[in-house]
Amino acid sequence: MSFSDWLLFLHVAAAFALVAALTVFWFVAVTARNVDRPVDSLRFFRIARPANVLVVVGTMGTLIFGIWLAIDLDAYQVWDGWVLAAIVLWAIASAAGQRGGIVYAQAAKLAGELASQGRGEEPSGELKALLQDRRAMWLNVVSSALVLAILVVMIYKPGA
C-alpha cells in the first residue's frame, strides 16, 4: 500500500465518521423530539456522546486528509474547481452544524443542572423549547444537506 492509499483511507474514514455522527444526531433528534423531562433528555444525550467525538474527528479529518491527498496526487490540485467547491461547502456545513449544535449543548447543560437540583423528573418547558428549536433544526438540515452535497461533489468530481 502506498502513502497515497493510506491518505485516501484516512480521508474516507473521516468522511464515514462525519456522516455516521450526523446519522446519530438525527436519530437522537427525531426520537427525542417530544422529550420534556431532564432525566429523559440526559439518556438521549448519552447516546450522542460518541457522535460528539466522531463529528470533530470527521470534520477535521476530511479537510486535512483531503487537502493532503490533493497535494500528494499528481492528478489533482487543491485549486481544482471541484476541490475548491468541496472546501467552501465544508466551511459552510461546519459553521451551520456548529451553530445548530450550540442549542443542543445548552439543552444538555440545562438538563444536567435541573437533574442536579433534584428536578430531573419534572417536565421543563424551557428544555422542551431548546430541544424543539426550529432555527437549530434548520441549521442542522442545512449542514447535513451540504455534507451530502460534498459527497456528491467528491464522487462526481464536476469539471475534473
Binding site: 485516501l8 455516521a20 459527497l151 464522487i155
Partner: protein, 155 residues
C-alpha cells in the same frame, strides 16, 4: 489507484454514491445502536434496548440494503463479474457485507425479542440484548475493516 481517485464514466457515479451513502449511514446506525445497547447493560435497559432496536431496524437495516444494492450495481458496471479472479479487497467487501448483513438480521431479531421481554419487567436486564450489543459491535468493527479494504484497496 482506487475507484475514488480516478475519473469514472458518469453512469458509474450514482451507484457508487448509493453504495457509499448507504455504507456511511449504516455505520451511523450501528454506532447509535452499539452505544444504546452497551449503555443498557448497566442502566435503563428497557429504554436503551428500545432505542438500540430502532436504530438497527429503522436506520442500519435500510442503509445496509442501499449499500448492498449500490455495491452490486457498481460491481456489474465496472465489469468485475467478468473477471476470473477478483481482487482481494473486493472479497473483503463481499464477506463483510454478506456476513455483516446476516449478523445484522440476527441482532435485530435478538434485540427485538429482548425488547419485548423487557417491556414486562423494565428494571431487569436481558441476555439477548447483551448478545445483540456484542454482535452489533462486531459488525461495526468488521465494517471499519471493510472501509479500509474498499478505500485503500490493498493488493
Amino acid at each position: 489507484m482506487s475507484a475514488f481517485a480516478v475519473i469514472r464514466p458518469d453512469d458509474w457515479n450514482f451507484p457508487l454514491l448509493l453504495h457509499v451513502l448507504g455504507a456511511t449511514v449504516l455505520v451511523g446506525g450501528l454506532v447509535a445502536a452499539v452505544t444504546a445497547l452497551l449503555l443498557g447493560w448497566r442502566r435503563d435497559s428497557a429504554f436503551y434496548t428500545r432505542l438500540g432496536f430502532w436504530a438497527l431496524l429503522a436506520v442500519a437495516f435500510p442503509a445496509w440494503w442501499a449499500m448492498r444494492i449500490g455495491g452490486q450495481w457498481i460491481y456489474s458496471k465496472e465489469g468485475f463479474d467478468e473477471l476470473e479472479t477478483e481482487p482481494g479487497w473486493l472479497g473483503v467487501g463481499f464477506i463483510t457485507a454478506e456476513l455483516g448483513g446476516l449478523i445484522l438480521l440476527i441482532t435485530i431479531v435478538l434485540t427485538g425479542i429482548g425488547m419485548r421481554r423487557l417491556r414486562n419487567r423494565p428494571d431487569s436486564t436481558s441476555v439477548l440484548t447483551r448478545i445483540g450489543g456484542v454482535l452489533a459491535s462486531l459488525i461495526l468493527l468488521a465494517y471499519v475493516v471493510a472501509v479500509w479494504a474498499m478505500s485503500a484497496k490493498p493488493d
